[in-house]
Symmetry: C2
Subunit: 260 residues, 2 copies
């Protein structure tokens, strides 16, 4: 199933996508829901981020190629993490598919995309094992972990670098029927493919992360876990269009504007 969240009568509703049509539901896929029978074309709805997470988790440094590029960029030896330490992002920064990434006027030139798989949690869970960890997953969506690199180097936290308003595009929808090993992530800038990598070729996979996290913390329905990116991202600038595609899930497309 493919779930969207959209604006209807000034409130957020969930809907099921079938081809180019959306059927709205009452309630929420994270609780109880019922089909309403009301259908409309996908093109007629204003998409919202497919979930507003209770906690917004994010993995850093989870692909070999990205580790190498970070080492080159910072002039430090390449160092792979030895444990899956989870980090955090903030919901203020979330925008939907189609909405505009706004670069603040005092940001530097090194504002970059990071195409990521997003795990959406469906069930309250603690003390998962690697074997049963995926049982708490509701589905998957796509994230773009937009990052301002000069702030990332300067600030004690990632607050401006990664959590400035609009820096976290997520969507377009949640796909529940996914074969992780078959996924390929492609990032395109103005239509040109910039990087392509096997989505599941992570240092620590989804099940390992969820099992490790839930030794200490309880996951809740609607929580999201962004799984990190691979490679060496390029800069994005005013007027660009950035697309993150994950085969089997969809395409997350956002235009870029710099505040004037």
């Amino acid at each position: 199933m493919r779930w969207i969240r959209f604006e209807e009568n000034e409130t957020a509703s969930f809907g099921l996508v079938e081809g180019e049509t959306v059927e709205s539901v009452t309630g929420s896929p994270f609780d109880r829901w019922e089909k309403t029978g009301i259908k409309r074309p996908m093109a007629a709805v204003r998409l919202l981020p497919p979930v507003m997470p209770r906690t917004f988790y994010a993995c850093g440094l989870n692909y070999g190629g990205h580790l190498k590029e970070v080492a080159i960029a910072t002039g430090t030896p390449m160092k792979a993490p030895t444990t899956p330490d989870i980090g955090y992002r903030a919901t203020n920064a979330l925008i939907a598919h189609g909405e505009t990434i706004v670069i603040p006027r005092d940001a530097g030139e090194k504002v970059q995309y990071e195409g990521e798989l997003v795990v959406v949690i469906g069930k309250k869970a603690k003390h998962l094992t690697v074997e049963n960890a995926l049982s708490c997953v509701f589905g998957y969506t796509i994230g773009n972990d937009v990052s301002e690199r000069s702030w990332q180097g300067k600030d004690r936290t990632f607050w401006r670098a990664k959590n400035t308003d609009t820096f976290k595009p997520m969507g377009p929808w949640i796909e529940t029927d996914v074969d992780l090993d078959a996924l390929v992530t492609t990032v395109r800038l103005n239509g040109k493919a910039m990087i392509e990598f096997p989505t599941n070729a992570m240092l620590f996979g989804v099940a390992t992360y969820l099992a490790t996290m839930t030794r200490y913390l309880t996951l809740h329905p609607g929580d999201v876990v962004w799984m990190g990116t691979d490679g060496d991202p390029a800069n994005i600038k005013h007027g660009d269009i950035v697309e993150v595609e994950i085969s089997g899930i969809g395409v997350l497309r956002n235009p870029v504007r710099r505040e004037s």
Copy 2:
């Protein structure tokens, strides 16, 4: 006004405290609300954290005494932050006044309290100035930023060290009528005062933090900002009772248990 959040018919309700009595309200203080006329004794309600924040912000290193102790503990020169960089905590870790802080069995001995003032946001806000920043504040409550120091040193993020389930007691209520300069924070361990400091003697005050944050991010009703702690906290262990009092707000009291 003094607002609590409590469990009623298996859902969370808000209530207004008057002395030892609670009057429940419909709706939420962060939106629209109405008194119900239903009153009961405070002792008869099960408290919840007074708000479940959309984003859970936290300042680090915001008092001179704590900076000094961090420098001694880590054997590094004392270094005051030059900018108010905001950090994050996670909602999974929140517990209410009276609930138990549970230390995981594999935690070290250095599990410590940190008594903190918590700012509760009442209005959507961006681009605040230091002069008008406090206009977005709904009220204040109390937090205990429980921290496991060996994990804090080892992990790339603070996920286990500070966001293990039950490590973020918050409450007992939100007080809307507060004179920041008059507040005094006192932490007691098993009834013994361990530290006392003027709550508002921060390196960067509430207004400075909110103005700086909102240059880049939008604050939302219900967001919380934990303002940091002063001094050199002591360890807490199984069987302890830890209390954080802020004069003019109240007392946040939690027992401690170690998982067996």
